[in-house]
């Protein structure tokens, strides 16, 4: 068929990009070549709008073994081991078909980790949906939540990797575009780190895993109608995950990697065979020649175009050493997998696709993989932002009953217990989970060593919407703080940047600001970003999501027995608030829940003080000074206190706060109880250790306030001697536990 303007446009290439393609090839492309270029130069694969900004992120550090550019990043954790981790988005597929969208997201991130030679040991996820109770969109949202959670459980549980934690948030801006960000952590021997590269002329190229079908081929219907007869119905946009196949692939690939018969390995994720062949070739300065007629196919009559662009799940591409073929094939056969030799490595740097004897595509690898145009898209600060950032409390009236306001906040879906969610996830398989999901960071031990890793994924779209730069800083600080609360030293991070349409200058401004904020925080806190994912075009009907960077931070605990829980473990402990006693209502959950308002300037984070706080937590935990540590996040001090009591074993608590100086607007107590600010942590400590803790805080000029004691059947907060909020532990617990679950009692059985 001829490549006309319409065909080029349906492949999403601009005329400038097409001219660049012509320059590279020196001739007109075949339709297969056009398809290959279109997927490799898509935003998803090429990061063409974001890459110039991403360069500002700090990616190096003494522990970094692998930075961005490979399937996942890796940091040194001692004992000759490395932690391999990455976060990735599966937003759009999860809205179209929540179960399979989320499930295949899990499958993809797991492949990214074991491809690096690491045994995956933990999964986390960060989920954002519309409002559960919305009269118009609530029913759809609940269905999406149910399907996404079910999909994550279905895949993760089956493959036997524990889903140990995560976060779930709700804002109406996500109702037509939920965010499903998934994180996986693996552990590998440092010397066994595998890479996605092809080298050594003549080495065999193997295809292994599920057969190739017409899944997820993006070629527009018009173009496809012209070169084949298949209707749109034959090309499902939804891919179906097969966790059983992936379990076999995982075990077989790790077994193959135990030998030294492997040169390189990569999964076929986005852009499938195209992406894996050209990226492996480009990384190894080699060419790859494959014959698509050898590729195992699920459906009859597939064209080279379809085979190259298919996004069927659970497939891997391997390059083995010549002469070691039998060894590799035997290991796969043990796992009932058939490794098929589909080509070989060449020395000419060209991706050559044959169908039998006929050459269907011939493209220089490096230009294809790395030659996508990079865009410095226009940037513009959104109009109306100043109005948005002005919070006028004079128009609002403070709550009459603080206890009721407290219970309402505890029942807000963002804050309420996510037990309904994480009980569906097997969070204990592999017997490493030291701190389970529920409160703050999760902790998994590293078998064969004394150490453990703490993990947290955090973001706050609302803060970023009001101030993307500060929001970026806050997201890094919070994720790192959660990890530090578990007693772990933050050693590496991965980010998933979820934004709207990059062709809007306002979106690119948000993106650029957020990246700068993340970069600044990572630099000061000395946490390198070792990789991640950018998800753009998150909008529906012109309505963009809140700009939502999500940070996944990994922390190291040298002695797993010193991992700290987030909740009060026993009665009679002293409760100490580290950091400022009062927070701000700007952009807070209180403001939204009680007044339906999203406004103001979120309290900024003082990164030097943040660093001091986190160091103190790590040191105090390693000296066994603390019994628990809990970050004050959404809902402020009062919510943190309630969570520490409800999920803990220490009964209730009685605390007293001093009133603070602030504007006389009637919201002073509200700020004290529900105000939000970074760098605040609620810890419990035996009375005997309290002086040492206060000394340590004093030494770094960190405010530390002994506020009360654990125990009793009530949670009571007094200010300057007057009880301002007081509730039975059981009642608080009931609000917190049912706040989320009540939305799902009527969900019909899953399909």
């Amino acid at each position: 068929m001829s490549i006309n303007q319409a065909v080029i446009e349906t492949h999403g290439l601009t005329s400038a990009e097409y001219r660049r393609l012509l320059d590279i090839l020196g001739r007109e492309p075949t339709i297969t070549e056009l398809g290959i270029f279109s997927v490799m130069w898509s935003e998803h694969c090429s990061y063409k709008s974001s890459r110039l900004h991403l360069r500002r992120l700090p990616t190096e550090g003494p522990r970094v073994v692998q930075g961005p550019g490979e399937n996942a990043g890796a940091v040194d954790i001692g004992d000759g081991l490395i932690a391999v981790f990455k976060i990735e988005s599966h937003n759009h597929p999860s809205f179209i078909e929540p179960y399979q969208g989320a499930a295949t997201g899990i499958g993809g991130i797991i492949r990214d980790i074991f491809t690096m030679g690491a045994r995956p040991i933990a999964l986390l996820n960060s989920l954002r949906f519309g409002e559960l109770g919305d009269s118009r969109t609530g029913a759809t949202t609940r269905r999406v939540v149910d399907g996404v959670v079910d999909g994550i459980a279905g895949y993760g549980n089956s493959i036997g990797i524990p889903t140990v934690g995560g976060e779930v948030a709700f804002e109406s801006s996500y109702s037509g575009n939920p965010l499903v960000n998934v994180f996986c952590l693996g552990v590998a021997h440092a010397e066994r780190l595998a890479k996605g590269l092809a080298s050594g002329e003549g080495n065999p190229v193997y295809y292994v895993g599920a057969k190739t079908g017409r899944d997820g081929i993006h070629g527009a219907t018009m173009a496809s109608a012209e070169f084949d007869e298949h209707s749109g119905d034959n090309r499902p946009a939804v891919q179906v995950g097969d966790p059983f196949m992936e379990k076999l692939l995982l075990e077989a690939c790790l077994e193959v990697m135990q030998t030294d018969a492997l040169v390189g390995i990569q999964d076929m994720g986005a852009a499938g065979l195209t992406c894996s062949t050209c990226e492996m070739g480009a990384r190894g300065n080699s060419g790859i020649e494959i014959d698509v007629s050898l590729v195992p196919q699920r459906e009859a009559g597939m064209t080279p175009y379809e085979i190259m662009l298919s996004e069927s799940q659970e497939r891997m591409l391997l390059v083995a050493k010549k002469g070691r073929e039998a060894e590799v094939e035997q290991i796969f056969a043990k796992w009932d997998l058939h490794a098929v030799r589909i080509g070989r490595v060449t020395g000419d740097g060209v991706l050559r696709v044959r169908e039998g004897g006929k050459v269907m595509a011939e493209i220089p690898n490096r230009e294809l993989a790395d030659g996508a145009p990079l865009y410095s898209r226009p940037i513009k600060r959104p109009e109306g932002l100043d109005d948005l950032r002005r919070l006028d409390l004079a128009k609002l009236s403070p709550p009459v009953n603080l206890t009721e306001a407290w219970l309402t906040l505890l029942a807000a879906p963002v804050i309420a217990s996510k037990r309904w969610v994480y009980r569906q996830y097997d969070h204990m398989v592999r017997t490493n989970t030291v701190i389970r999901p529920g409160c703050g960071a999760s902790v998994v031990r590293v078998k064969g060593t004394d150490s453990a890793l703490a993990l947290s994924v955090d973001g706050n779209g609302r803060y970023c919407y009001l101030d993307p730069r500060e929001g970026g800083r806050l997201a890094v600080a919070e994720a790192a703080r959660n990890v530090a609360c578990a007693g772990a030293l933050p050693i590496g991070a991965t980010n998933c940047l979820n934004f709207g349409n990059p062709e809007r200058p306002e979106t690119m401004w948000q993106f650029s600001e957020a990246v700068d904020g993340i970069a600044e925080a990572c630099r000061t806190l000395e946490i390198p970003i070792t990789g991640g994912n950018v998800s753009l075009y998150n909008e529906t009907d012109g309505q963009s999501i809140y700009p939502t960077p999500v940070l996944g931070v990994v922390g190291l605990i040298k002695d797993a027995t010193r991992a700290l829980a987030g909740v009060f473990p026993e009665e009679g402990l002293e409760i100490v608030l580290l950091g400022d006693p009062s927070g701000a209502l700007d952009g807070s959950e209180y403001l939204k829940t009680a007044h339906g308002s999203v406004q103001g300037c979120p309290a900024p984070v003082d990164l030097d003080r943040e660093r001091a706080l986190q160091s103190l937590l790590v040191e105090a935990a390693s000296n066994r000074l603390l019994r628990s540590a809990h970050d004050c996040a959404e809902g402020g001090f009062a919510v943190a206190l309630a969570e520490c009591c409800i999920e803990g074993e220490g009964g209730g608590a009685s605390v007293e706060l001093p009133s603070t100086v602030g504007p006389h607007d009637g919201f002073g107590l509200v700020r004290l109880l529900f105000g939000e600010a970074p760098t605040r942590v609620l810890v419990s400590v035996p009375a005997t250790e309290r002086p040492r803790l206060l000394e340590m805080a004093d030494a770094v000029s960190l405010p530390a306030l002994v506020v009360g004691k654990t125990g009793g059947e009530r949670i009571r907060i007094a200010v300057d001697g007057d009880v301002v909020a007081d509730v039975r532990l059981e009642e608080a617990g009931n609000s917190w536990v049912t706040g989320f679950t009540r939305h799902f009692e009527s969900v019909p059985w899953e399909q």
Binding site: L248, V429, T431
Partner: protein
């Protein structure tokens, strides 16, 4: 003392069982691949949890046809101790080594949480070191754990004291509210008539170290070790 841990494609608690008996209890353990037809002189056979064959068709159904299962049948017929945990329990039921079936949990969702179970009989190789009525805190992690058996057979099971574990509260009392999955008679685990084959839904291998929240599960494996020595 040597444990054989049978590995099916899709088993995923195989390494957890291995870790518990090998590294926590310090006993010998061998992985036996499902295509193997030799139990390599094992004293006790463990069918671990997981999703053998993806749980496709029915949980445990395809695995029950694996070549190694003939050897497990022979081993059990000779009186050898066999324990099936979670998916391993499902496989024992599909293989006809134990009575009944496991249905979807009554609230239909996968459930991962700690539960309490009461030891109902101590004359099996996996409960011999426990106290009668002892309450164990063990994790569950399953979607098909709702034990079902026809009423006549249930009466037989009870009459023959084949119920080994029952869901209960921390004080050892059974009630509908502490029955996590709707199992008939709050049944969490049973044995065969000869009492050498035991299946249970909770995961004792996940509760062998206090670092992970409970070591109540050790008694199950310690019983097996003691039973052999005795």
């Amino acid at each position: 003392m040597k444990f054989a841990i049978i590995e099916f494609p899709g088993s995923n608690c195989d390494h957890d069982a291995y870790h518990a008996v090998r590294h926590v209890l310090g006993q010998q353990a061998d992985f036996i691949w499902h295509k193997d037809t030799d139990l390599r002189g094992a004293d006790t056979v463990v069918l671990p949890g997981g999703f053998s064959y993806g749980d496709y068709l029915r949980t445990g159904a395809i695995a029950s046809f694996s070549p190694v299962m003939d050897k497990v049948r022979e081993f059990a017929a000779a009186g050898g101790p066999v324990i099936g945990i979670c998916n391993g329990f499902q496989i024992l039921l599909e293989a006809g080594l134990l009575d009944g079936a496991l249905l979807r949990n009554r609230r239909l969702k996968f459930l991962c949480q700690d539960v309490h179970v009461r030891v109902e009989a101590t004359d099996t190789p996996f409960t011999a070191s426990a106290e009668l009525g002892q309450v164990l805190k063990l994790p569950i992690a399953h979607r098909e754990g709702n034990y079902h058996v026809v009423p006549e057979r249930l009466a037989d099971l009870e009459a023959n004291r084949q119920v080994i574990f029952r869901y209960c509260d921390s004080a050892g009392l059974t009630s509908d509210s502490v029955n996590p999955n709707g199992s008939v008679g709050s049944i969490a685990g049973i044995c065969n008539l000869r009492r050498n084959v035991v299946g249970l839904m909770p995961h004792p291998e996940r509760a062998c170290e206090s670092l992970l929240g409970s070591d109540d599960g050790r008694v199950v494996f310690e019983s097996a070790v003691a039973a052999l020595v005795a």
